[in-house]
Amino acid sequence: METLSIYAPKLVTNKEYIASGHRACSGCGEVLAVRYVCKALGRNTIISNATGCMEIISTPLPETAWEVPWIHTLFENASAVASGIESGLKSLKRKHGYTKEVKVVAMGGDGATADIGLQSLSGAMERGHDFIYVCYDNEAYMNTGIQRSSETPFGASTTTAPSGKNSLGQHTQKKNMAAIAAAHNIAYVATSCSSYPFDIMSKVEKAMKVKGPSYIHILSVCPTGWRCASNLTIKLGRLAVETGIFPMYEIENGKYTLNIDLPKLRPVEDYLKLQGRFRHLDKDITAEIQEKVFDEYNKVKRLAAGNKAK
């Protein structure tokens, strides 16, 4: 195993498609995830990027960090723009002798995906466009100042759902985007995390093989919004998976596979206590979160087990 960890990274391309020198915060998990996604995608890619952190940090006019063709237009329409790109290329191929094989990719944060852009994403998946959608989920609107989204976890304090005398912060549960994507009967849906580069890359490679829509939801650690030290990014991503808070799984043609199936989950407290956004939670709420995590984790486990049994 030790030898593998030295050997495996050597197999990854040295080529970067998002150049260094961008303006992401130190310890940004999201830009790491983007980097791995792009390495797996390679050069024959066109990216439609929603408004958000990744757009702001990479393209202050007249600079750009992008080494692949890239378009940003608005917050809620990355999937619709991708629909147009894919249809345009199809038409060019059929009518005007265009021969390049290009993968169309739409990407956005959790707000652009699960809130304001959900309709355009749903429309594009339903219509069956050949594209990959990647959601970089840092669990709030970090770019605009840490406002809650529908992906903010229960109990987290944000600037629009702050904890206070009468509030524990976010009082709703995280929206299950993977299940929503899977409900569109698309061939490939996966969750991943910014602390697992090889997992991200292998999932992108799988998505690239799909003809039609595919969806990858990547938990991306955000030290700025999670109020944690910037050297904890990798550790926190791993803890999210090891506590079962963010299970990593795939849904291939409706069949669930749990990619990291731990015999015993670590207590959620290990994850919560490292982050300022959960600092206000007492033992009772932590216990409530722990229960919910077991429930949700077991749900995925059962779905994956049911799949195996077949």
Binding site: R43, N44, T45, I46, S48, E55, I56, T59, P60, L61, P62, E63, T64, W66, E67, V68, P69, W70, I71, H72, T73, L74, E76, N77, S79, A80, V81, A82, S83, G84, I85, E86, S87, G88, L89, K90, S91, L92, R94, K95, H96, K100, V102, Q119, S120, S122, G123, A124, E126, R127
Partner: protein
């Protein structure tokens, strides 16, 4: 060129123009109510009469967003909308202009909510005025057919690369069957060169589209866009000249009707101009000194051509088919600001009428002009007249 005259609904004639333009991608949504333009196109695609990708999007916002994507990879792109649909795409319209994506759109002009009203006026397109699109008005189905073909040539010209709207009055043009002349494929192919975006999204030559600009560059970006839009006029006029040479149908930025030496000029845009012409005919036959000026090119606004058209007039009555609630209506504002720097300027009176599908008959136009002149006579031109309103 085919000289056969045929009777067809204007919406279907527009679809035929789009087919002749050999469009690559159409994205459309049926917000209440869509027209036969996109239905006609969907049928052509389904029957193999047009080789294009038809994206049946889930909203007008996505319709225009898809258009951004397809135009950005170098595909010829078309959509049509109206009313609520146009204002739902509004956020995206501004991006289309700022990214220099030459999308062509037909807007079948209709009223806006509320109250809900699906009938014709210019409320929808007036809100789009400042979006950076080239905006052209037509008065009948033939002009709509012609201008859609011209629009692709103007928008995609390498010196322009700007999205273009053809304003076609809802119902009064869109749903009316008219006799008109079509062009054949050979004529259109000779008139309309293939679309090529100089900086299309391409893995072999990666570009970044849609950067964000800090305060140190935003003003310069807006100035550059404004300059492009203003300078597009040269290509618009060239295109209309070439089209006229081919078809015998010549178009101008500002068109006049019996306006020479007329003391009073009525200013209109769109289909109601034809009713206004009848009123002018009648009034002139009765010895009245009235004429008509029709603005065809709304953006970029043709200041010089307009000033020239009204240079001899003493009185101007401007009809707006839209309001600016709490302020002067848009066309009249434009005209007043065009005239203000002139040493010798006519009296201008503002009239709002024809809202939400209400007709203005030739008789009404006579009344409207007289009411306007009455106001000028008593020196009270400060307030806009709401023509035919029941109070």
């Amino acid at each position: 060129m085919t000289a056969k005259r045929i009777g067809i609904e204007s919406s279907l004639a527009i679809a035929e123009a789009v087919r002749l333009a050999n469009v690559d991608v159409i994205a459309a949504y049926p917000i209440t109510p869509q027209t036969h333009i996109v239905e006609g196109l969907a049928e052509m695609v389904a029957n193999g009469h047009l080789d294009a990708e038809y994206i049946p999007v889930e909203s007008e916002h996505s319709a225009m967003s898809s258009c951004l994507g397809s135009s950005a990879v170098g595909a010829r792109t078309f959509t049509a909308t109206a009313s609520q649909g146009l204002i739902l795409m509004h956020e995206v319209l501004l991006v289309a202009a700022s990214l220099h994506l030459p999308i062509v759109m037909v807007v079948t002009n209709r009223a806006l909510s509320g109250p809900l009203n699906i009938w014709g006026d210019h409320s929808d397109t007036m809100i789009t005025r400042d979006s950076g699109w080239i905006q052209i008005f037509v008065e009948n189905g033939q002009q709509a057919f012609d201008q859609v073909l011209c629009a692709f040539r103007i928008a995609e010209h390498q010196d322009v690369l700007l999205p273009t709207i053809i304003n076609v009055d809802g119902f009064h043009i869109s749903h009316v069957i008219e006799p008109m002349y079509f062009l054949d494929q050979e004529a259109v192919d000779g008139f309309l060169p293939p679309y090529k975006h100089p900086h299309a999204l391409d893995p072999d030559k990666p570009v970044t589209m849609g950067c964000f600009a800090m305060p140190n560059l935003y003003t310069e970006s807006r100035k550059a866009l404004d300059t492009s839009l203003r300078e597009s006029k040269k290509v618009i006029l060239e295109t209309w000249k070439k089209f006229g040479e081919m078809t015998g149908r010549y178009y101008k930025e500002v068109e006049t009707y019996k306006a020479e030496a007329a003391e009073t000029l009525l200013i209109t845009m769109g289909s109601y101009s034809e009713n206004a012409m009848e009123a002018i005919d009648k009034m002139q036959s009765e010895g009245r000194s009235v004429g008509l000026v029709r603005i065809r090119l709304w953006r970029p606004f043709p200041y010089m051509a307009f000033l020239e058209a009204v240079s001899g007039a003493k009185n101007i009555v401007v009809l707006d088919r839209a309001m600016s609630l709490g302020g002067p209506p848009p066309v009249c504002s434009e005209i007043r600001s065009a005239l203000y720097p002139q040493e010798k300027r006519p009296q201008v009176v503002s009239v709002v009428g024809g809202l939400g599908g209400r007709d203005i008959s030739p008789d009404d136009f006579e009344k409207l002009i007289d009411i306007g002149l009455g106001r000028i006579k008593i020196g009270d031109t400060s307030e806009t007249i709401m023509f035919g309103v029941r109070e």
